[in-house]
Amino acid sequence: MTFRKYLVLGGVTLFAAIGDTLLARGMKQVGNISLHSLPDIVLAVLNPWVALGILFLLGFFAAYMTALSWADLTYVLPATSLGYVLLALIAKFFLHEQVTTTRWLGIGLISAGVGFVTQGPALTRHPYHHQPDAEAERVGTRAEP
């Protein structure tokens, strides 16, 4: 794991939390959309908060795909779950919601989980699998199974 890779994991976490927050804020402004007028959901994109939220979620997806290209799924998911903690903190400090003791406990559990998984290796090395970095160099000539 290099510094650049930790940066990508941080991007996954940040972009998801910020994107969700922006979407939630925008959709509150747009109001309820009933199942009978589903096309209205297209108009929701015109809301600037929603549009910005979608932009951030696209960034999240790009970072997530990058992370999955060199790390295990069971590493990336817990490692980026700090986003839940971030959402709770955003709710407390920006939306002035109350964070209860139970929630702090939840934040503690998630942080412990993140600490656990990032102590270990990021990628399973299969005996028939080579280093992904070396593999990427000759990916064009490799025969697909």
């Binding site: 650049r4 199942l35 997530y64 795909m65 990058t66 999955l68 290209s69 060199w70 295990d72 799924l73 069971t74 590493y75 990336v76 998911l77 817990p78 779950s81 839940y84 709770a88 139970t102 929630r103 406990l105 939840g106 934040i107 503690g108 559990l109 998630i110 942080s111 412990a112 989980g113 993140v114 656990f116 998984v117 102590q119 270990g120 399973t124 299969h126 992904p132 970095d133 593999e135 990427a136 160099e137 990916v139 064009g140 697909e144």
Partner: protein, 126 residues
Amino acid sequence: MKHAYTWGAILAVVLASASGDVLLSRAMKKVGDVGALWRHSGLLTVAGRILSRPSFLLGIFMMAASFFSLLFALSWGDVSLVAPASASLTFVANAVAAKIFLHERVDHRRWIAALLVAGGVVLLAA
């Protein structure tokens, strides 16, 4: 009856989202390190490699399916049940699916991490 619908929809969210994650992860492992590939042959090659993988497209489709199942679940059940239940069950389902289908080595450390995060998500919504 409404309860059964809600849990059915939550189950659909979990299954669709876990299979989507597994498919996307498999696709990206086949593509290889995106950073190295980008430096080596440019962004267009990277995009082409990713978009031409059937498992990537199927993964996107499953993600969309999970999103719409979530909408259905939310229309039947409370958000305070649906959101944490589907999120935390997805963490556990992903660990199982990654072990079976991606042959990742899910050791004690990763099991504990998945369960801690799943439990934490439930508490956050409590």
